[in-house]
Amino acid sequence: MLETLFALLSFFLLAGSVTILLARDPALYTTGFLAVMLAVAGLFGLLDQSFLFLAQVMVGVGAVVVLTTIVILTINLKEKELPKEPTRGPWLVLGALVIAPFGWMLYRGLVAATPDHFPVLKEGFGTVQAMGSVLFRDWVLPFEILSLLLLAAMLGAIIIGKKEQSYDLES
């Protein structure tokens, strides 16, 4: 049951990632992004991280994907406005050749560093309550810094995204 779910989710995840990697059509890579975010949320659920699951669906899908889609469809690129990518094929092969060993090393390192099975959990791992108590007992400072970061990002986004004023409102 869980294995089937895992296989399904990893299929969606990889299909989404590969779509983002290869697709030219904006609609395709947007959908790929949606699939990736939802699949990651599902994997969080498989890891018993129920609050992370909810946060990923709510923030990842509800905010990030929706925002991305709105921006992409506002810009609404025509077929001829898409960048020509003549060097995409060679770069993909070359990049894969370079990145694959690093990925393999990273994977071996991660596997070597951890036991090969999941330990049995205490009651209430990953629930909202447990998350909240850990968050507000041990991790208050990072949390507050994150809120500052979000504020800064918001201000930055507003300032960057503002139209340059070519005319004076008063005159």
Binding site: V61, I70, L73
Partner: protein, 431 residues
């Protein structure tokens, strides 16, 4: 899990699916009939099966049949990415259906020592699940509007998306103040909290404890469901049909049904958070279980009276005007229906009679309490669905900038203020 527990779980899942899916034709029928009666018209009342028209419900089933068997039509300019075009309404439909699955229809029952939740997905994320899944539903709308390659669809999708995104803030903050009040995100625990009393005589319903949050959340939920007076995403007068202009047949029906399920879910969330959920006012589950005998006797007395009143109403109103030559079998239908109703009443009376002599802690009593609570839930659900419909046919549509102004400049500050006041009161009471 024991066999009875599995049976109960299956029954609950089937009930949830029925409440979500079977409600769609009923809601469509209600929408058309209530709209007609409000505007001094009759609405659809002619379609019948063997002379049974049931006030016109048969019309919606005929409509469903028509939509299922209609020709699949694709506009010529949608050649690439057609599978995405088909998936988009499915996203909306599936997320609307999933969001309904966490609503508790009754209090937990204990079956052979196992505590079972009477909700289709036995998880306790409650309102967070609703918010999370509701935000996925936007994606179906945006994708559908965008992939139609049509200016009207694109405008509708943009409007709908920006409207939903901006009201999600007000909705989330309004919900936060309710979470502060209840101290939980679980719907069932929220309903338990509401079975208390405030000021000694009023039921502690969310709408009475937190009226401001109630108004904010109800308004935001109207926006979430994309219904009038906030239906700018599909404003017929300006942008044809908004994001589903290019959709036809079953794909259109998916959007349509998703919308009605969303409305149903929104009513369920409203009654669960603000109007005591499945609880009867003043009567908590424990009281119901302890004094079920007395309550069964009250039901035994009340039920025949209600049925008699209904039959009288039906005899007078399931007719046509005397000037019309034929009544199309309406008298026959009334006769059969009243007999069926009377027979059902008799059976229910007998069951209630048996139940009233059972001891208070027996399995039968707890199941009867569950059924009663489900009935109360469905009744409240219908009342709020009708409220949604009446509001739609009462208020004119807001202009788009008015919608945004209301969301950002009134509801958002108000919900923030509400959170501050609630937090101060909650902390003050706790310390």
């Amino acid at each position: 899990m024991s066999t009875p527990a599995i049976l109960v779980t299956l029954a609950v899942i089937v009930l949830a699916a029925l409440l979500a899916l079977l409600m769609i034709p009923v809601l469509v029928w209600l929408e058309r009939r209530v709209c007609g009666l409000i505007q001094d018209r009759l609405g659809p009342n002619r379609t019948n099966v063997f002379g049974f028209r049931l006030g016109g419900v048969v019309q919606s089933f005929a409509d469903v049949l028509k939509l299922v068997f209609k020709e699949e039509y694709y506009p010529g300019h949608i050649s690439r990415g057609r599978w995405l075009f088909i998936i988009a309404p499915m996203i909306t439909f599936a997320s609307a259906l999933l969001a309904f699955m966490v609503i508790p229809f009754a209090d937990d029952v204990v079956v052979y020592g196992e505590k079972l939740r009477i909700q289709a997905l036995p998880i306790d994320y409650g309102i967070l699940w609703y918010l999370a899944i509701g935000s996925v539903g936007i994606m179906g709308m945006i994708l559908g509007g965008w992939l139609s390659h049509n200016k009207y669809s694109l405008l509708g999708a943009l409007r709908g998306a920006s409207q939903l995104v901006s009201y999600e803030l007000a909705l989330g903050l309004g919900v936060v103040s309710m979470i502060l009040t209840y101290g939980t995100i679980d719907f069932n625990a929220m309903v338990h909290w509401q079975s208390d009393m405030v000021l000694g005589f009023l039921p502690a319903w969310g709408a009475l404890v937190q009226p401001l949050a109630a108004v904010i959340v109800i308004v935001a939920l109207f926006v979430e469901t994309n219904r009038a007076p906030f239906s700018v995403a599909e404003g017929e007068s300006e942008i044809v049909a908004g994001y589903f202009t290019e959709y036809s047949a079953m794909k259109f029906a998916m959007y349509f049904m998703g919308e009605y399920i969303a409305m149903n879910t929104a009513s369920a969330v409203i009654i669960t958070m603000f109007f005591g959920g499945y609880q009867l006012p003043w009567i908590s589950t424990e009281t119901l279980r302890e004094h079920f005998g007395a309550i069964a006797w009250v039901l035994i007395v009340v039920l025949p009276v209600a049925v008699a009143l209904f039959i009288r109403w039906m005899k007078r109103n399931n007719t046509v005007r005397p000037t019309v030559a034929t009544d199309g079998g309406r008298n026959f239908e009334t006769k059969i229906l009243s007999r069926v109703l009377i027979a059902m009443t008799v059976v229910i009376e007998l069951i209630l009679l048996i139940l009233s002599f059972l001891p208070a802690d027996s399995v039968g009593t707890s199941f009867a309490v569950t059924l009663l609570q489900i009935a109360v839930f469905v009744a409240k659900l219908m009342v709020f669905n009708i409220f949604f419909i009446v509001v739609r046919w009462t208020l004119p549509r807001f202009r788009y900038d008015q919608v945004q102004t209301l969301g950002w400049r009134y509801l958002l500050p108000l919900s923030l203020l509400n959170i501050f006041v609630t937090a101060i009161i909650v902390v003050g009471v706790a310390s």
